[in-house]
C-alpha cells in the first residue's frame, strides 16, 4: 500500500529546515524589534548626553557668574586706573601743546649777531594773522595754546649800521621753528648822540621785526607715563645754563638805552 501524505504541500516542513509558517514576517519583526531597541538606546544615550551637557553648561554659567561678580567687586579699581590714565593723557597733551618760550629766549640770545640789541620783545600765541584762536580751540579746548595756534614774536632793537640788519634777519631765521621773519621797519638813527626815541646809537639802524613760527603741532601720543618725583631735586636751570645756551654769540639785551647793555 502506498503511503499518502495528507499534509498540504504548502504546509509541509522542508527537510532539514525549520518550519516557516510566516514567510519571513517573523524575521522582519525580530529585526524590527532589534532596530527599535537600537532606537531606544540612541534616545537613552542622547538623553544622558543632554543631561550631562546641560549640567556642564549650568556649571560654566555659574562659574562665569561668580567670576563676573568677583570682577564687579573690583570694578572700582579699574575705574580708578582709567581715571589716572585719562588725567595723565590730558596733562601730557597740555604739556606737549605748549610753546617753549625759554628755548626761544635761549636761541634768540645765541643767534643774534654781535652788536645787535633788542629793545623790546613781544610774543603771543594765536595772534592776528595766524590761525584763529577760536578755530584752534575747537580742536583741543583744554589747552590755552592748542595745536594749530600760531606763535608770533615782535622784536624791536638796534643793529650795527653796515650789514647789521640783514645779518639780524638772516640769523633770526636760524631759530628753531621759525616760519617767516618779516621786517616791519628799519631806520638809521641820524642823531649823533644816540638815544632818541628808538634808543639806538647814532648811525645805528633801529628795526622792528615780526617773527612767525610754525603752528603748534598736535601733541605726540608717544608719552607713556607721568613721573611724579618726590621732593624737587635741584634740576632747576641756573644762570649758567642760560649763559651756556646764549654763549655762542652775543646775548640779546633789552634795555632802555642800547648802549648800556651792548657788549
Amino acid at each position: 500500500m502506498k503511503a499518502v501524505n495528507l499534509i498540504p504541500a504548502s504546509e509541509r516542513q522542508q527537510s532539514g529546515g525549520l518550519p516557516n509558517h510566516s514567510n519571513g514576517v517573523a524575521y522582519v519583526l525580530l529585526g524590527g524589534l532589534v532596530l527599535v531597541g537600537g532606537l531606544g538606546a540612541a534616545y537613552g544615550l542622547a538623553e544622558r548626553e543632554l543631561h550631562e551637557k546641560e549640567k556642564e553648561a549650568a556649571q560654566l554659567e555659574a562659574q562665569a557668574q561668580q567670576v563676573r561678580a568677583k570682577a564687579s567687586g573690583l570694578a572700582a579699581y579699574k575705574s580708578f586706573i582709567a581715571l589716572r590714565q585719562q588725567r595723565e593723557e590730558t596733562i601730557l597733551q597740555l604739556i606737549n601743546s605748549r610753546f617753549n618760550w625759554a628755548h626761544l629766549l635761549a636761541e634768540l640770545g645765541a643767534d643774534l649777531p654781535s652788536g645787535a640789541t633788542v629793545t623790546s620783545f613781544s610774543g603771543t600765541i594765536g595772534g592776528p594773522g595766524g590761525t584763529s584762536t577760536a578755530t584752534a580751540k575747537t580742536a583741543a579746548p583744554s589747552s590755552s595754546t592748542p595745536p594749530g595756534s600760531l606763535p608770533t614774536v615782535s622784536l624791536s632793537g638796534c643793529a650795527p649800521a653796515r650789514h647789521g640788519l640783514p645779518q639780524v634777519l638772516s640769523r633770526l631765521r636760524l631759530i628753531e621753528g621759525v616760519k617767516t621773519v618779516e621786517l616791519k621797519s628799519g631806520t638809521v638813527n641820524q642823531t649823533s648822540a644816540g638815544s632818541g626815541s628808538t634808543g639806538c646809537a647814532g648811525g645805528e639802524m633801529s628795526f622792528s621785526i615780526s617773527i612767525t613760527f610754525n603752528v603748534l603741532p598736535s601733541p605726540p601720543t608717544t608719552a607713556k607715563q607721568v613721573l611724579v618725583p618726590g621732593p624737587r631735586v635741584s634740576v632747576q636751570p641756573t644762570a649758567a645754563t642760560a649763559k651756556k645756551a646764549g654763549a655762542k654769540r652775543a646775548p640779546v639785551s633789552l634795555s632802555k638805552t642800547a648802549k648800556e647793555v651792548r657788549r
Binding site: 510566516s22 514567510n23 514576517v25 522582519v28 519583526l29 524590527g32 532596530l35 527599535v36 532606537l39 534616545y43 542622547a46 538623553e47 548626553e49 543632554l50 551637557k53 546641560e54 553648561a57 562665569a64 563676573r68 568677583k70 567687586g73 573690583l74 572700582a76 580708578f80 586706573i81 589716572r84 585719562q86 590730558t90 596733562i91 597740555l94 601743546s97 605748549r98 610753546f99 618760550w101 629766549l105 640770545g109 629793545t119 623790546s120 613781544s122 610774543g123 603771543t124 575747537t138 583741543a140 579746548p141 583744554s142 590755552s144 634808543g199 608717544t222 607715563q225 607721568v226 611724579v228 618725583p229 632747576q236 636751570p237 642760560a242 646775548p251 633789552l254 634795555s255 632802555k256 648800556e260
Partner: protein, 241 residues
C-alpha cells in the same frame, strides 16, 4: 492575505516605526544635545571673558597704590580747586630762586570749556585759570625763570612727563627795559628787564574731585556695587586722614 503580503506590510510598518521613532524621539533629543553644546561654548566664552575681566581688575587692584599716588601727585599739576596760594608760592619760589622780582599778579576768573569728541579731548576739559604776572630781572634770570616755570610740569623725549608743580601754559611774553622800580631792588637798572607773562593754569573740571572719593587703600565703590568688594577689602576705611 498571502504570506508575501504580510511580509511587505511588516516591513512597511517597521520602516514607519523607525522613521517616526527617529524623527519624533531621537532626533529632537540630538537637537537638544546640539543646543546644549552651543550653550556650553557660549558659557565657556563668557567664562573666559569674565576671567579676563577679573584678571584686569586684579591687575588694576595691584596697581592701585601706584595709581593713587600718581593721581594725588598729578593734583600738583592740575588741582581740583584753583589753589591760587600754592600757585603763587611756587611762582614766587621760582622767581626768588632765579633772582627775579615778582611785581604783580592778576588773575581772571576761571573759564570752563565744553568737552568735545576725539582723542584729544577724551577727558573732560580742564578749567582754565588765566592770570598775568609781571617780573623784573636780567635776561638770563628771566630765561631761567621761564624755564623753571615750564618745568613745573614738563615732557621728556623718552616719553615721560615729570610733574614738579603746577602746570602752566604761557600764552604771551613781553619783555621791555625796566622802569624805575628796579632801582629800589638794588639791581643795575640798565640790565634789568620788565617781563609781563600771560599764563594759564588749569583746574580739574567742575564737580570732579582729585581722587574721586578714593582712599589710599581702596577706591570709592561704584554705584550699584556692594560697599565691600569681593576681595574683602573695605571700600572706605574710617579714620584715615
Amino acid at each position: 492575505m498571502s504570506g508575501r503580503d504580510r511580509l511587505v506590510v511588516a516591513i512597511v510598518v517597521l520602516v514607519i516605526v523607525l522613521v517616526v521613532g527617529w524623527t519624533q524621539v531621537v532626533s529632537p533629543e540630538r537637537s537638544k544635545v546640539s543646543t546644549a553644546e552651543h550653550k556650553i561654548e557660549s558659557a565657556r566664552s563668557a567664562l573666559t571673558s569674565a576671567q579676563s575681566e577679573l584678571q584686569q581688575a586684579q591687575q588694576a587692584k595691584a596697581a592701585y597704590r601706584t595709581a593713587y599716588a600718581a593721581i594725588v601727585a598729578l593734583g600738583k599739576a592740575v588741582p581740583a580747586s584753583q589753589e591760587i596760594p600754592s600757585l603763587l608760592y611756587e611762582v614766587e619760589a621760582a622767581s626768588e630762586h632765579h633772582h627775579v622780582d615778582l611785581l604783580s599778579v592778576s588773575a581772571t576768573s576761571a573759564t570752563s570749556t565744553a568737552p568735545t569728541t576725539g582723542a584729544a579731548a577724551s577727558a573732560q576739559s580742564f578749567q582754565q585759570l588765566p592770570f598775568t604776572f609781571t617780573f623784573e630781572g636780567t635776561y638770563a634770570d628771566l630765561y631761567n625763570f621761564l624755564k623753571h616755570v615750564q618745568e613745573f610740569a614738563a615732557f621728556t623725549p623718552p616719553g615721560l612727563a615729570v610733574v614738579h608743580g603746577r602746570l602752566l601754559t604761557i600764552d604771551s611774553l613781553n619783555l621791555a627795559p625796566a622802569g624805575g622800580s628796579a632801582a629800589s631792588s638794588g639791581k643795575t637798572k640798565g640790565h634789568t628787564l620788565s617781563g609781563t607773562i600771560t599764563a594759564t593754569a588749569y583746574v580739574l573740571p567742575a564737580g570732579e574731585t582729585l581722587t574721586e572719593g578714593a582712599t589710599p587703600t581702596a577706591p570709592r565703590p561704584l554705584p550699584g556695587t556692594s560697599s565691600s568688594n569681593a576681595a574683602g577689602v573695605p571700600a572706605t576705611i574710617k579714620g584715615l586722614p
